[in-house]
């Protein structure tokens, strides 16, 4: 089992605290193309995601609007905010890939440098892996994202 890092506050680094205190993309969308919500009954954590597509001329549609609202601890809130930043402007397929990468990160799969680069600020959540009971907090918004993407694909 992973032991805790020497600095017990490692979990609460700048990026996580910044996104926890000022989460991005919380404003609700007026006409979302898909919406999905996940709930963890054990702790009351909740994540709700809205997605909106826009198609530039002769191009694949991209996620032009995203709203992520999470209730719960710092980790779920930071994760939701970073997720929203991360998928904004991506195609559905790219967002799916990002989600898979993030899961790999949380499951401790070794990632090549280009993958870490792809994750960008999201890689700040890697520290959560050292607190196994908190991994599900970080993943909850992503479960909602995956459901939202499935709904977009089914349209």
């Amino acid at each position: 089992m992973a032991s805790l890092p020497d600095n017990p506050d490692a979990l609460y680094g700048d990026v996580i605290m910044e996104h926890y205190r000022s989460p991005r993309h919380r404003r609700r969308l007026e006409r979302p193309d898909a919406e999905a919500e996940e709930f963890n009954p054990f702790c009351g954590d909740r994540a709700n995601l809205q997605l909106q597509l826009a198609k530039a001329a002769s191009k694949v549609a991209v996620i032009a609007g995203v709203s992520a609202v999470a209730e719960g601890c710092s980790i779920i809130q930071a994760s939701a905010s970073l997720l929203a930043d991360g998928v904004h402007g991506r195609t559905v397929d790219e967002a799916s890939d990002l989600s898979q990468l993030f899961r790999d990160l949380m499951q401790g799969k070794p990632l090549p440098p280009v993958a870490l680069e792809e994750l960008g600020e999201l890689s700040a959540l890697e520290v959560v892996r050292q607190y196994p009971v908190r991994v599900k907090c970080a993943l909850l918004p992503w479960v909602a994202l995956e459901e939202g993407l499935r709904r977009l694909n089914r349209r």
Binding site: S3, L4, P8, D9, L11, Y12, F42, C43, G44, D45, E71, G72, C73, S74, I75, Y131, R134, C137
Partner: protein
């Protein structure tokens, strides 16, 4: 060691500046009995404050269990050989110890179960199916553990009984006038928690029993959190059924006891069926065994029962009066300390309460608090404590709960307070 016993619930201070009662037990001597407490967690001495979830085990309990497996292991009530006789004697000695501990009139009224959950399910299922009919009502309280809600709900769906819930005030005290008006001709059972695991409230069982019995209604008591922390006398309480778990009273997991009045248990159908609970079987007919075996189908948790007996003897050697007085004093110490921290809101402030410090902080979610406390070596429970209706009552998703045992010290409380200060540094 002094023999003075202070009355629980009466605040006061001695010359040392500590509340009265802390001197009735020497926790440092007690801690010698609990090997697990001698360890570091995350580089800090372990501060174990999750006793309402489960308690640690003294050496005497660990030894009793290993002694059974090392020397006496055999099935009970089955063989004439020496080991079987020894195992049976020790298994039944555990039952007698439990009887004595709760002052039950007869050891045959003590049924071994897996724990409180099974005790509650047994009564709901066996008593409920026997006596309830559509339209009947069962009264519980708003502070029940899920295990005293769901079995009745399931019966409700099957038979059509209605669950009535006694509300409580902001301090976590039952509204007794509402309880009184809920009792009516349709009420078939009152099932109530003695001490709330989420709030610490100690409910007025004798008063509730008296009101119920005046109408001929039976009362079941969930004593999971009371039996380990105060003297519990089933005859003084007046209840009809009472159940508790071994693992919350310094004994092993997987064992507990249900006590019930013989005349009620005799009349109830078996809960499970198989070996041990049978007197004679032909393919046409089965004659059930007498109490308590009627309710103990199959090979029981023999080692668990022996461990439970050892836990009872260990607690008796210290004395439940003293344990209660000490934990009350520690609770007062902790309550004062936590009240002094700005941003900490205590959830559960009943006049009569046991060693539970449940709290909420606006600045940080319970998960975050739990993680920081763990990094400081402080083990607490965060979550809804299997009492979601209680959380809903206070409009919060979860609390942080520090729960006390007599091996805890004022140093443990101070470590908790220091760890909460860290939370405020990070999140404040």
């Amino acid at each position: 060691m002094t023999t003075v016993i202070n009355t629980p619930g009466i605040p006061g201070r001695d010359g040392s500046g500590h509340p009265h009662g802390l001197d009735v037990i020497d926790p440092h001597r007690i801690r010698q009995d609990f090997p697990i407490l001698r360890q570091e967690v995350n580089g800090k001495p372990l501060v174990y404050l999750d006793n309402a979830a489960t308690t640690q085990k003294p050496q005497a309990v660990i030894d009793a269990i290993s002694n059974y497996y090392l020397h006496n292991n055999a099935n009970v009530h089955r063989g004439v050989h020496t080991l079987s006789q020894r195992a049976t004697d020790d298994y039944e000695a555990g039952r007698e110890a439990v009887r004595r501990f709760i002052n039950a009139p007869d050891a045959n009224e003590v049924i071994y179960v897996r724990g409180t959950t099974e005790g509650l399910n047994l009564v709901a299922s066996s008593y409920g199916r026997r006596y309830f009919k559509a339209g009947d009502e069962v009264i519980i309280t708003g502070m029940e553990h899920h295990s005293n809600i769901v079995p009745w709900q399931i019966l409700g769906k099957e038979i059509g009984i209605r669950l009535r819930v006694v509300p409580f005030n902001d301090d976590g005290e039952l509204l007794m006038d509402q309880y009184e008006t809920m009792l009516n001709d349709r009420t078939r059972m009152v099932s109530v928690v003695h001490q709330s695991n989420a709030l610490g409230t100690v409910n007025p069982i004798p008063e509730m029993v008296e009101l119920a019995h005046a109408r001929g209604i039976h009362v079941m008591v969930d004593a999971a959190q009371s039996v380990p922390h105060m003297p519990v006398d089933v005859q003084a309480l007046g209840a009809d059924f009472l159940t508790f778990s071994g693992h919350k009273m310094y004994g092993p997991t997987g064992i507990g006891a249900l006590w019930g009045r013989a005349e009620l248990l005799d009349d109830m159908p078996p809960y499970q069926s198989g070996g041990e609970m049978i007197r004679s079987v032909t393919f046409e007919e089965t004659i059930y065994n007498t109490l308590p075996h009627k309710f103990e189908a199959g090979t029981p948790d023999i080692a668990g029962a022996i461990g439970l007996g050892a836990a009872v003897e260990y607690l008796e050697s210290i004395g439940m009066e003293r344990i209660a007085a000490y934990e009350q004093a520690l609770l007062r110490y902790g309550t004062e300390k936590l009240r002094d921290i700005e941003g900490v809101r205590l959830i559960g402030t009943a006049e009569e309460k046991g060693g539970v410090l449940s709290f909420h902080m606006e600045a940080a979610h319970p998960h975050d608090i739990g993680t920081i406390l763990d990094a400081e070596g402080v083990a607490v429970r965060t979550g809804h404590h299997c009492a979601q209706p209680v959380m809903a009552r206070y409009g919060i998703p979860a609390t942080v709960r520090a729960s006390l045992a007599f091996y805890n010290t004022t140093d443990d409380i101070d470590a908790l307070v220091k760890a909460i200060d860290r939370v405020i540094e990070v999140f404040g």
